[in-house]
């Protein structure tokens, strides 16, 4: 499947929508840094996982005894 992410298009549009100001001088570096994240994200999105695998950050509340 072709990678659907286009960092050059996504970064300025998502930043504007999220209220993040990226200076023209930084835009290339941010786009490049985001492209790295998109590349590694594609790797983990393609890693086959059993459906029952739950997040590592599983929160288990205590019974309040320690409060």
């Amino acid at each position: 499947m072709a990678d659907p992410f286009d960092p050059a298009r996504y970064v300025p549009e998502a930043a504007a929508a999220a209220g993040l100001t990226i200076s023209p001088a930084d835009l290339g570096d941010v786009t490049q840094a985001f492209a790295v994240l998109a590349r590694v994200a594609a790797q983990i999105m393609a890693t086959p996982l059993p459906e029952e695998t739950v997040a590592a950050a599983l929160f288990i509340p205590d019974d309040g005894a320690a409060q």
């Binding site: 993040l20 930084d26 490049q32 994240l37 590694v40 994200a41 790797q43 999105m45 890693t47």
Partner: protein
Amino acid sequence: MTRQTARELASAVRSGERSATAVIEQTLAEIAARDGAINAFTAVTKERALAAAAAIDAAIAAGRNPGPLAGVPFAVKNLYDVAGLPTIAGSHIDRHRPPAAHDAALAQKLAAAGAILVGALNMDEYAFGFSTENTHHGPTRNPHDPARIAGGSSGGSAAAVAAGLIPLALGSDTNGSIRVPAALCGVFGLRPTIGRLSRAGMRLFAASIDVGGPFARTAEDLALAYDAMQGPDPADPASAARPPEPTLPVLSRGIEGLRIAVATGYYASQGAPEAFAAVERVASAVGAKERIELPSPGAARAAAMIMTSVEGAELHLEDLIARAEDFDPRTRARFLAGALAPGVWYARAQRVRRWYCGEMAKTLANVDVILAPVTPYPAFPIGQAWMEHAGQRLPAAGHLGVFTQPLSFAGLPTVAAPVADCGPLPLGVQIVAAPWREDLVLRTAAAAEALGAVASPSPASIEVPGR
């Protein structure tokens, strides 16, 4: 240059051979005279150090036990709270924060053991880097070649110990920030199991991966500091409810009977031949013949990068929106990119982590200790942005974490130990074990040190180019 170990200094102070005040006065004089060449310190806490030394001397004079680290000077990465100082975490933005009211928990524990805080140490901004080329505070220079990086993000901690300014320092490690600078500066560093040491009073970077830990010039000093800092702490939600498990009493047990394997495949590629040769020399010395392929390091590193970027960006989102221009140019783009990452990436990274840790647990059921390189190459010149390797153009600093990131993602305790006889530029070996087995990694490091396979080299006299 002072090369006495923490144990030797504490022994001299406890026996009355030297006063704590004399030790601290000499340390402060050494820092004043020599830190300018490496730029490890961002603050020196002279008055409180001298007051603490006087208190140790008074305790000894009164016949009280001054603690196992009596009079030992130490310093902390400047993301640790130090009472009276703003906790800047390598930033410009936080210079005007209110001063910390208390020392961080680990600094308090070292002080309770008799150690004396002498200052705060340079780092990459908000711990997001592997080189300590900090634009606001200047780069920390490698004591073995001041034209080269010290590694990061705890570069000040490693450099100060390597230069002999202090025998102990504290740093933090998310993806390699203790292990990388330890290796490049030629000192020992311990990344403990996540949950083992309290993070209360530390400015975190990526809370689900961060740990604090010590640097030293011997495995014994590492164990001495680590033991003094153990114990649960309700002030840190990630602190495990485990009693201290002292390692010093078992440090000299050696490696007889331990199943030690060398990580191969991923961990034997993507780097310079000397990095792998260094690991092989240690393996040969400790009799490790087995080779082991660890599961999915590439996916683990990828997931660690997503979690780190997103958690770091979330912590600093308010400043990224209001004043992005005040971030270090070396971190700004990466923080902004993390702020834009879709949530599904983060959720997937969390699930990958669960699966990966299960796979690592299966591997660790068949082996006690794993050896792997710390970095793919030794320290590179300050300012170098790219590294050519096997026809690939890699980010010189970013690629330093290629071997550390997958292992910390599983939360495994790891000693980074300096491999002996590496030439002018140090290299390190990671000594890794199952969660909560700090005893095994410290024992193996001590045994390798006794065999002469790992040792912290003394830098030649330091001259900064162009000064």
